[in-house]
């Protein structure tokens, strides 16, 4: 069953938190909503979890007029006065499932989560990763079709984060879940999901696959949020742009030609040393740093300093090189 968000708006006081959100979420997919803090992500999740009512618009499924997502909170919100097993069986108890059946299902889900030996502990006696597994178990024991996750990995350590990410992916397959999760870490979104919606200032600015998102952000706000790029201000001279480092033809992805153009040069996949039809500039290498299988190179053109990712050992510090754009450069 697919889910639809139709023109969902939320106003609190005079502040518009969400503006006419339209989205379609397919069955059994992991759908990421990516955006900066304060962009309305948590408000949207609360609406999908039926904790809040939207000011206008509706949320429905193919054969469910009022679907309710089970929410895994960012701070987990395990009930501090209940043990792990009491937390996990809370939802079943509220549905008046007999105790025996509750415990049987709890045992099963705790085994899946690998937390069987924590049953009698209280939340303040658990680590962050354990708390998250309990919070997931508390949601999944209700056999929900739709699971909502608010910044699920943001409070975990780097190593644990990858482990939990893979674990959630595996759970999604195993339980045939539709997962909507919000995050402000783009890598989390890319690792979990093939469809990413960018939510900034209460508006879905772009809905795309991760690769395309990085290559062609819909507007300057998205490009700036995704980061990992140089933004060089410039002026128009007819149809070419004039900036401190580059003068020549450009293209744009926005509907209208930008009034005050900003040249957009992402670190990755945009500049190369190989000759192409689009010469860029001559630049001196100030520094290069190892960042995994690439190098982050700091360049200087005149007084402007910019960064770019290049293959290892392509350049030497202090030398100058001619750079080329892979394709026609983009302005916003």
């Amino acid at each position: 069953m697919a889910y639809y968000l139709e023109k969902i708006s939320q106003t609190k006081g005079h502040q518009e938190i969400l503006k006419q959100i339209d989205l379609k979420i397919e069955e059994n997919e992991v759908f990421a909503i990516l955006g900066p803090s304060g962009g309305g992500k948590t408000t949207l999740l609360n609406i999908l979890a039926q904790i809040d009512q939207p000011t206008s618009g509706r949320f429905y499924g193919d054969n469910d007029a009022q679907p309710k997502g089970i929410l895994v909170f960012q701070d987990y919100r395990l009930f501090p006065h209940m043990t792990v097993v009491q937390n996990i069986t809370f939802g079943l108890k509220m549905r008046h499932i007999p105790k025996k059946a509750r415990l049987a299902r709890a045992a099963e889900i705790m085994k899946t989560m690998g937390i069987s030996d924590l049953a009698k502990r209280y939340p303040d006696e658990l680590s962050g990763g354990q708390q998250q597994r309990v919070a997931l178990a508390r949601a999944l024991i209700l056999k929900p079709k739709l699971v909502l996750m608010d910044e699920p990995f943001s409070s975990l350590d780097e190593g644990l984060r990858l482990e939990m990410l893979n674990f959630v992916k595996q759970l999604q397959q195993q339980f045939q879940l539709t997962i909507i999760f919000v995050t402000h870490y783009k890598n989390e979104a890319y690792l979990l999901s093939n469809q990413v919606a960018i939510l900034i200032d209460g508006t879905v600015m772009q809905l795309d696959e991760p690769a395309h998102l990085e290559q062609a952000p819909a507007n300057l706000a998205v490009a700036e949020f995704l980061g990992q790029a140089n933004f060089i201000p410039g002026t128009w001279i007819d149809k070419t742009i004039k900036t401190a480092i580059y003068q020549g033809p450009v293209t744009w992805h926005t509907a209208k030609k930008p009034v005050t153009p900003t040249l957009y040069i992402p670190f990755a996949q945009f500049l190369q040393l190989t000759v192409s039809d689009y010469p860029a500039f001559k630049a001196q290498v100030l520094d290069h740093r190892w960042i995994g299988n690439l190098e982050r190179v700091t360049l200087q053109v005149g007084t402007t300093v910019l960064s770019v990712n290049l293959p290892p050992n392509a350049v030497t510090t202090g030398e100058s090189y001619d750079f080329y754009f892979k394709q026609l450069p983009v302005v916003y």
Binding site: I70, R77, H81, M82, F90, G91, M94, P123
Partner: protein, 292 residues
């Protein structure tokens, strides 16, 4: 910087003060209650005063009456305070804020205020009987039920409720404001009804604060003198009045007996408080962890 020397320095003011005022008073009264009272020439240690106290019918019935009375009035205050705190918490507007401000008022005033007002309002020559007579609902003021100095201690209970319901409200509101809304959202999302959220989430979380307030109110009602003295019924005396009268008679030969009564009462009150605290730990909500 958190050194042992500094800790001793920090703890000593209270320790010295407490030993001087509290501990020494109790040591003296324990010693006296055991029959060592040189002023009266008593120097042999004995349990006979405790035996006398525990066989004294008046003392025992007065104690039982006072215990039941204190339990009832503290319980009513907690129930009333809980209900009103929930109403106030749900009223987020100016009316709710006004109500919370008002709840702090009785905490600041002495009991004698309510006593005075109750006497003017509810005694048989008070304003309420007058009003009822004026309205023709009552033939004469003597038909108005006895509400002060009455055998059921209604006047005293009303006084305590006026002071203690607001005290419970103030204690609970602080906890309710910080805890409840976040966790009730979780409960709602997991499918709990409003009643279930109250019973399984809110109530366990405020239970420790509620029982703490109960202990303070119970102990006060059990041991306070001024209200029962002015509003109590002389034939159904309450314990504080009984002991005070006994003490101020000034019969020094009775001191060991009075002190043994005091020690028994103190032990009893501490045991009651301990039992309530133990109960509070064992009930849902007894383990609140570090999560606040």
């Amino acid at each position: 910087m958190l050194t042992k020397k500094k800790l001793i320095l920090l703890l000593s003011p209270f320790t010295i003060f407490f030993c001087f005022v509290f501990v020494s008073a109790f040591i003296k009264s324990i010693v006296t209650s055991l029959g060592y009272y040189p002023l009266m020439g008593l120097k042999t240690l004995t349990f006979k005063y405790y035996m006398t106290a525990l066989q004294d019918k008046t003392f025992l019935t007065t104690s039982l009456r006072t215990f039941c009375f204190a339990l009832l009035s503290a319980g009513l205050a907690c129930l009333g305070g809980l209900a009103l705190a929930l109403v106030l918490q749900r009223s987020t507007g100016p009316v709710g804020r006004f109500g919370f401000k008002l709840a702090q008022l009785p905490v600041m005033l002495p009991h004698i205020f309510v006593i005075l007002a109750l006497l003017q309002l509810l005694s048989q020559t008070g304003l309420v009987p007058s009003l009822l007579v004026h309205l023709g609902w009552l033939k004469g003021p003597q038909h108005f039920p006895l509400l002060v100095n009455d055998p059921l201690q209604i006047g005293i209970i009303l006084t305590y409720l006026w002071k203690e319901i607001p005290f419970v409200i103030v204690s609970l509101m602080l906890v309710l404001r910080s805890l409840d809304r976040r966790y009730s959202a979780v409960g709602q999302n997991l499918g709990a009804s409003k009643l279930q959220i109250f019973w399984h989430i809110s109530l366990p979380m405020i239970q420790p604060a509620l029982l703490n307030a109960f202990i303070i109110n119970f102990s006060f009602n059990f041991g306070a003198y001024e209200v029962p003295y002015l509003l109590g019924n002389p034939r159904r005396e309450l314990l504080p009045v009984y002991i005070y009268d006994f003490y101020v008679q000034g019969d020094l030969t009775q001191m060991p007996l009075i002190m043994s009564l005091n020690i028994l009462l103190s032990l009893f009150a501490v045991l009651c408080a301990g039992a309530v605290l133990y109960l509070s730990r064992r009930l849902p909500g007894g383990h609140l962890g570090g999560l606040k």
